[in-house]
């Protein structure tokens, strides 16, 4: 892989994030939806390759707005999250001359897209209507993070704000990790997991201010793949069983063993399972955070441990237990292919992280970032 290939890799990952939810959706896939996905892909790709921050964030604003106006038409998905994201993207596009405002707008955009605390109230609305739509929204994070790393992270203000963002991100990750332990329904759990990863992303963006750009991109790729995959599995469970309460053991593994396995794999890779991108992202992030704030790093370690426990406990409540009487089927063929591809990518980046991280470091050097 060469540094020149980096935008193509990012574009491919973004394409997967855009089309995977279309493939696994239980709704009939109309022509309009396919056209909109293609337009979304074109906008993402243009944003990845364009040469100015104004244009990159501007295209992201159009992408998010388009989803709010058209893609969700005919559904009861709330428009507000898309409107807020669009406003932050527009703000990031227009404030390139003022680094302070530019950084704040870009971080708020990514916090909204990734569902980080306290912007998770918007994510909660999306997740409540459709976890699959949240998975789709998260995929936009890859494109937005890439724009952040190219146009915001190399500025002097990002350098100065690094430690503050790291500490803030660590605390924002810890809070949902703790609350994930006491969630009473599956969507609440998913919201907490996404918010925890959103906190990780904020911390990683902070570390990127001091040149740890690879950590930030690996965190966002893990967020998109693992949380996107988990969102798809949450949607798959709810398609079959309706709203899932985490009261007693559900015993669903007997009827849907593949779905249970996929849920566990995505949840585990999100909390750093060895052999997946999550393990490398966590490792890289912790070292990056340690240089900025030892306390921030320790908080992040504790948050990851708590989320891992919450994830296993939730898995146990949904899937384990005495066999449940249900006619709900296991993963359908298209869903299986999406699971294999998405998890395959997580494993590929986990066992060969240099494929992505090394050319990325070289690539970003050209934008003034000093990779560590």
């Amino acid at each position: 892989m060469t540094p020149e290939s980096v935008p193509y890799i990012v574009a491919t990952l973004a394409a997967g994030g855009i089309f995977a939810p279309v493939i696994v959706s239980s709704r009939p896939v109309g022509l309009l939806r396919i056209i909109l996905a293609a337009v979304a892909l074109a906008l993402s790709t243009a944003s990845i390759f364009c040469s100015t921050g104004t244009l990159a964030f501007g295209l992201i604003a159009v992408l998010v707005m388009m989803r709010g106006l058209f893609a969700n038409q005919g559904t009861d998905l709330p428009k507000l999250p898309c409107i807020v994201s669009t406003l932050f993207a527009v703000a990031a596009a227009l404030t390139g001359e003022w680094p302070v405002l530019n950084l704040i707008a870009a971080v708020l955009l990514l916090a909204t897209l990734s569902g980080a605390w306290p912007m998770h109230w918007l994510a909660a609305r999306v997740i409540d209507r459709s976890p699959l739509a949240m998975a789709e929204q998260i995929s936009t994070c890859i494109v937005a993070t890439f724009a952040y790393l190219r146009f915001v992270a190399p500025t002097e203000f990002a350098f100065d704000a690094a430690s503050t963002l790291v500490r803030l991100g660590a605390v924002l990750a810890l809070l949902p990790a703790i609350t994930a332990l006491v969630q009473v329904n599956l969507r609440g759990f998913y919201r907490c997991v996404v918010a925890m990863h959103g906190g990780m992303l904020i911390a990683a963006l902070g570390a990127a201010g001091h040149g740890h750009s690879a950590a930030a991109l690996l965190v966002t790729v893990t967020l998109a793949l693992a949380m996107g995959g988990l969102g798809a599995m949450v949607a798959a469970v709810e398609d079959r069983c309706g709203r899932v309460l985490l009261k007693d053991q559900g015993g669903r593994i007997w009827g849907m063993p593949r779905l249970a396995a996929a849920f566990l794999l995505f949840a585990a890779s999100g909390v750093g399972m060895p052999g997946t991108a999550g393990f490398i992202a966590d490792d890289l992030l912790l070292h990056a955070l340690w240089e900025e704030s030892v306390v921030g790093s320790l908080i992040m370690i504790v948050a990851a441990a708590l989320l891992a426990v919450a994830s296993l406990a939730t898995f146990a409540k949904i899937f384990l237990g005495p066999p449940a009487t249900s006619l709900a089927g296991d993963l359908r063929q298209p869903e299986r292919y999406v699971v294999i591809t998405t998890f395959g990518l997580l494993v590929l980046i986990g066992v060969a992280p240099w494929l992505l991280a090394n050319p990325l470091a070289e690539y970003l050097r050209g934008f003034g970032a000093v990779p560590h």
């Binding site: 109230w121 332990l181 006491v182 009473v184 992280p353 240099w354 470091a361």
Partner: protein
């Protein structure tokens, strides 16, 4: 005579013997995931057993090669470059096939294959048969990573795979609530104690500039507080994995899993993996008298506790688990006091004995019922003095370790619920009086 480049052979053999078992698991998993029908039990076990056999053969060849029978022994350190290298940060891809690593690797491959063969019959037609073998493959790779890792990052990957495998096996019979609860408790103990490993690993990278096992030799030059802090963080992780006091409560609960996995994890490899970490970090231990004292005290206290509980436990597997723990405590004390060679021999002999005892446990119970248990008369077996009665009661209740841990967890869960209510309020305020969860 044909010249064999042993370094090149070892360079290929090591990653193959490590990765083959998990590759077999992936193949079985893909067969299940991609097709509409499950493969036969025979196909699944064949795939895994072939992988484990090749792994054992390669492990044996590496061991024989290291003795120098084929000429000059290959270098113990096998460097594959870096898994990731960005600026000053590097995740080294290094394996270390030294005497400690080879002995532990051989032990792990042999025991895993033995248990896999035993389980083919034992688990026949059991619900979760495929799950059992898929997880076993992942565990085998984890154990090999621990044995042969040349860097702490790789060691941690193996360490985590062992932990995940252990939790999944404890909750194997998940149709009952108790195994699931036990599995969660074991996993929570592992993960929270592993925070110590992660912190120690990051510290090692910062103060020694590298996470390779060989770099730990430089810890002798560190200030005492630094080597002590790093050593204590590692020790916390070891205490969790090897069920040392006060984290011993999960061990008897772990007996909920299938007997072959109890044998492999708690008789053979998992409990001893913590001790193997202590062997690997022995340069840090020898650099800090504080670690030596703390490690010895923890080990001996656990040994005394486990010996007492083993004598009062009414359950055969529970008694066996505590008898195992007693020896594990003693080995921890040995390593802390610097007797690393004795400890390695002790680990190997002990693991072999305990696996045999665990695998024989169901038969032993059956034999005892068939032949007749010769119980000691009640008046002779009862504790006589007040002290004896107190010790007996404390051992019978296992020092109420679980209750004490729960007394820490309960307030934390209250805090978690309070935070959740606060979070819900924030969502209501920001969302203009609407909340999806309310």
């Amino acid at each position: 005579m044909m010249h064999i480049d042993l370094d090149a052979v070892q360079r290929i053999a090591l990653p193959v013997l490590i990765l083959l078992p998990i590759a077999a698991s992936v193949v079985v998993g893909l067969l299940i995931m991609a097709s509409s029908r499950y493969p036969s039990e025979r196909t699944a076990t064949r795939i895994l057993e072939v992988a484990l056999t090749i792994s054992l053969v390669l492990s044996a060849l590496v061991a024989i090669g290291a003795t120098g029978v084929f000429g000059t022994a290959p270098s113990a350190l096998v460097d594959y470059g870096a898994l990731l290298e960005i600026g000053t940060y590097r995740i080294p891809a290094v394996l270390l096939a030294d005497s400690k690593g080879i002995v532990f690797s051989l032990l792990c491959t042999f025991l895993t294959l033995l248990v896999a063969r035993f389980s083919r019959t034992y688990m026949h037609r059991e619900a979760g048969y495929f799950r059992f073998f898929i997880v076993l493959g992942g565990f085998a790779t984890g154990a090999q990573l621990v044995a042969l890792a040349g860097a702490l990052d790789i060691f941690f990957a193996g360490w985590e795979l062992i932990g995940i495998g252990s939790a999944l096996f404890i909750g194997f019979f998940h149709e009952r609530a108790e195994p699931v609860r036990s599995s969660l408790r074991a996993f929570a103990t592992y993960r929270l104690c592993d925070a110590g490993f992660l912190m120690a690993m990051v510290c090692v990278h910062e103060v020694l500039g590298s996470t390779t096992i060989n770099a730990l030799d430089g810890s002798i030059d560190l200030p005492l507080w630094e080597s002590t802090t790093i050593g204590l963080l590692f020790l916390v992780s070891v205490m969790g994995k090897s069920a040392q006091l006060p984290f011993s409560g999960w061990l008897p609960r772990a007996m909920e899993g299938p007997t072959p996995t109890s044998a492999l994890f708690y008789g053979g490899i998992s409990l001893h993996a913590g001790l193997f970490l202590m062997l690997r970090i022995s340069p840090i231990i020898s650099a800090s008298p504080v670690i030596q004292v703390v490690g010895a005290v923890v080990g001996i206290s656990t040994a005394i506790y486990a010996a007492a509980v083993a004598r009062t436990d009414p359950d055969a597997k529970g008694a066996l688990a505590h008898a195992t723990l007693c020896q594990v405590g003693l080995i921890l004390a040995e390593i802390s006091l610097g007797f690393t060679t004795i400890a390695l021999v002790h680990i190997s002999g002990h693991a072999l004995l305990r696996v045999w005892q665990y695998l024989r446990a169901p038969n032993a119970i059956h034999d005892a019922h068939r032949i007749g248990v010769h119980a000691v008369p009640v008046e002779e077996s009862q504790p006589q003095s007040v002290l004896e009665r107190r010790v007996y009661a404390a051992a019978l209740h296992r020092l109420r370790l679980d209750d004490r841990i729960d007394s820490i967890i309960d307030p934390f869960m209250v805090l978690a619920r309070a935070l959740d209510r606060f979070d819900q309020r924030v969502r209501v305020i920001l969302g203009g009086g609407k909340d999806v969860d309310s």
